[in-house]
Symmetry: none
Subunit: 237 residues, 2 copies
Amino acid sequence: MENVKHKKLLVVDDEPEIRQMIDRFLRNEGFSRIFHAASFAEALEVFHTVKPDLAILDVMLPDGDGFSLLSSIRQTSNIPVLFLTARGEDEDRLLGLGLGADDYMVKPFLPRELVLRITAILRRVYAPPQQERYPVFQLGSRLVDLESGIVSNNGDELPLTAKEHALLLKLYENRNRIVTSDALCQAAWGDDYFGYENTLMVHIRRIREKIEVNPSKPEFLLTVRGLGYKLMVRGDE
Amino acid sequence: MENVKHKKLLVVDDEPEIRQMIDRFLRNEGFSRIFHAASFAEALEVFHTVKPDLAILDVMLPDGDGFSLLSSIRQTSNIPVLFLTARGEDEDRLLGLGLGADDYMVKPFLPRELVLRITAILRRVYAPPQQERYPVFQLGSRLVDLESGIVSNNGDELPLTAKEHALLLKLYENRNRIVTSDALCQAAWGDDYFGYENTLMVHIRRIREKIEVNPSKPEFLLTVRGLGYKLMVRGDE
DNA sequence: AGGAAACCTTACGTGAACCTTAAATCGGAG
DNA sequence: CTCCGATTTAAGGTTCACGTAAGGTTTCCT
């Protein structure tokens, strides 16, 4: 994950004291590359020279308004833009967002909220496209990593097969609760499966051989006779 | 640019009439794939089954609160989340945004604004990746430089082709995690691809010939039978 | 206790999933 | 148009994850 604090921010506001205030808040939160502009013209100037990564715009400017500034900017760039202005009427917000702003905050504002919203935007912009995440969790001394499909126990790593992965995922999603054999079969084979029920037992056994100290005396993946199985995980939630 | 109106939205709110209202507004604006959940438990359930592209969460739920729901969701996914709730105190907004929400709206709200904010988020998520810088990383003794598209091994330099570059990028972005064959195909060929799956294998083989000491005994680019591939990179986070 | 039902354990054969190589095809530059 | 590298198709080879089976063990009820 890229660090969002190194990004270049441009603050456009005609009142120097407000710019200073915003600047201070942002620096307090770890942002260091902050540029200022006091007018429409200056904003365009700075925009082209420093090429900021995100712009915080006021609506009221001496030589124009923030909305048309955004329009100008959007012709050549899709830089993230957050409006921060005293103009908080419904129409203003709709206009700003409709023009393609990423967020719209009304003054007076919470500095911390400004930082969080900036972070939220930058997080999205620079997040590499990630696929679905799988859980990673601890069972006793072993780490079950469904992300990489590996169970590791002080050094040695045991890879999980596709079926083991599917079953462990289902079990973990319903951790500390009973999961019926039917539900497990469905998770691993889909709705339509008519194989032997023994098959599931064999896979459970194989999982136990990877996650249990003694597969025949399971501590984590327990049998609930007549119902199914349950994975006991302590700690998180 | 992908059309944002086809994305799957999940609306979590305990009051059916509010869900209906939101649903109606969204459909008016062109969204068609809208799913509902009335409780924490139902939300998690729907979340896992339909895998929505964005979630609109209420804070107050009969069996929990939206904040812990977001925490649960964030363990396995970085899906965009927008809070829409009557809880509009400063602390609530800071908490919600601090937990990783993308936006926070307070009821009563303008339907049009909700749509604009959802659109703003989805626009960012599905925008083509911003960063013009590609990663450079080490695999054993070889340096994989996606910036210049060259794999170098003490002296000799092997150039990467377009497909190899795309695949390696996707693998590196999800390093140490299983990447499904589908995801890889999508990264290299786009959503609509109906060629032979063998094609992917051939490209994987080519990559292995450039990054592995022994392409037939891969150390870095490993197959996970039945699931896909994973690129094991040690070190940098 | 006896017996049956549910579950465990181990081993093995098989074929889907994957590998490998080469030849065919595509597509851009000259 | 021709060439050449990049990419895809094709076909035969390999392997290992999975399902099956069969005998064993535990649990529970009469």
